[in-house]
Amino acid sequence: MTSSNLRRYGVWQFRDFIRDRGIALLIVGFLIGFTVVGPFKAMGGNLDERMSERLLGAVLLQVPFVCAFIALNGIVSNDRKLGYFRFLFSKPVAIPAYYSQVFFIYLIGFIVVCAMLLGIFSVFAGPVSPGGPLIFCALVFLSFGGIAFLVSSLFRHDWPILAGIFLGATILHSMWQYDEGIKRMILSVLPPVYELPGMIPLLIRGESVEVNSVLWLLGYSALCFVAGLLVLRRRPFA
């Protein structure tokens, strides 16, 4: 196995991300953001700094989640479904290494798209500090990413399963978050993505978020990512 060939191929993977997903993410992100900012502007609302932050909070509650879902959908399974793996992996390439690189290139592409969307937001709703919002976008991608990677490694039709897992986790958390016993145990094994919305106002204001929550989110996702790599190593690809 050579790794330099894979590194060189990263440029093409980035191009594919922009062409296949990046443009779609920009359009979808813009449209969702516009449904939040547009009506406020149309009503002649006063866009001071405080209001900009509130609007940004409302946008961040939707756009990164939808965009991360679109970006990660089919990250492994598309090549399997469409048969692209046949030519790709007759070359001296390790399948887990190939998809690890895809994952990190998609992360970079996702952040680039989010930065562009943030720039568009600034034009419409006034300047905002990009650091916190971009950290939040990266957290959303990484929290969803490992789980999406595992599901996509396991199943050909990954997006309905992924949607079911995230919706299920969110709904069950809202129903059982104060319960104890078996319900609490079930919640503890579900993806902790419900931790994310609470971080938005803190990150927008540039304040620190609870480290344990971040570690729990990223740790859960990292475990899933490693499990996905093991699946790719062990499971037949055809």
């Binding site: 894979l6 062409r19 692209y84 030519f87 070359k91 001296p92 690809f237």
Partner: protein, 303 residues
């Protein structure tokens, strides 16, 4: 060397239903050999190729390339592979697809352009280089598929239905290219429905059916072969004396006769006798190739 040792592949559905795609398959393919794989649809050819590329693992038995598990071999060395299914990203152009595959195939950066240009020239893709894959005709797609398998001087080549969908001119050119792949140290495996093609290109042909190796046929003529076959002779003079040398000859018209032959030694002796007796031959060819005959017997026996 490629080695299958009692390889069996059973696919199991989630409902528990199982299908045996390859069963107790044993075969060695030497370096420098061109091996053909022939068999009817569903015989197990694609499963054998997937095993060789490491896309699936045998349920039992073993498959190795140069002593390594296939996936390990591919990850270290790569394989020149032409898939029967032309599954290349539809949004790529022909040229960018070749550039990508060259990079993945570990062609050194300084040589990528020259290698891509070389295979574009060799396969006549020049005028289609800027077209997207989805805009290519079946024949051009097949040429692109072969081009990407030739980007690097691979030690193992696997060509699955290499002339499928090609016009006669490109079928012949493809065969010339595949013939040129033969070299010491390189193993070439060609799966094809076209027995004539395999007869021309392969040293041996594995005839498989229902996942089992039915016969392993050498494509060269074997003087000591005991297998009876039928030859077709064309005679341009002395046709009336043909029965003297070939009592069982059947006149099929147009100066041609079909003669049953027990072995090549007898055939040559009979021809010499006929020539001495004043018969003039225009051609002597097997009415069915050795491979075709073996294929009919092997697959026919199973039906």
């Amino acid at each position: 060397m490629i080695e299958f040792v009692s390889a069996t592949k059973i696919y199991k559905s989630i409902l528990g239903r199982s299908v045996t795609a390859v069963e107790d398959f044993s075969l060695q393919v030497a370096e420098g050999e061109v091996l053909g794989i022939a068999g009817p649809n569903g015989a197990g050819k694609s499963t054998l190729i997937s095993l060789l590329l490491g896309y699936i693992r045998p349920t039992s038995g073993n498959v190795t390339i140069d002593g390594l598990a296939p996936r390990d071999y591919v990850e270290r060395n790569g394989i020149g592979y032409l898939s029967e299914l032309m599954t290349i990203n539809q949004g790529w152009t022909a040229e960018s697809a070749l550039e990508r595959f060259a990079i993945l195939a570990s062609v050194p950066p300084s040589e990528v352009r020259s290698r891509v240009e070389a295979v574009i020239e060799q396969l006549g893709i020049g005028e289609h280089r800027a077209k997207k894959v989805k805009a290519l005709s079946k024949g051009n797609l097949q040429r692109l598929g072969l081009a990407q398998s030739l980007l690097r001087d691979e030690k193992v080549m696997i060509l699955d239905e290499p002339t499928h969908g090609l016009d006669p001119v490109w079928t012949q050119r493809f065969r010339d290219i595949v013939e040129s792949l033969r070299r010491p140290g390189r193993t070439v495996i060609i799966a094809s429905h076209n027995l004539d093609e395999l007869q021309r290109l392969a040293d041996r042909v594995a005839i498989i059916d229902r996942g089992k190796l039915q016969r392993l046929v050498s494509t060269g003529y074997d003087q000591s072969a005991e297998t009876a076959s039928v030859y077709r002779i064309a005679v341009v003079g002395g046709a009336e004396r043909i029965a003297e040398s070939f009592p069982s000859a059947v006149d099929v018209g147009g100066g041609e006769f079909e003669i049953p032959v027990a072995n090549l030694g007898d055939l040559n002796a009979d021809i010499a006798r006929a020539i001495a007796g004043g018969v003039t031959f225009a051609s002597v060819v097997p009415s069915r190739s050795v491979l075709e005959q073996q294929f009919r017997e092997a697959v026919g026996e199973q039906k």
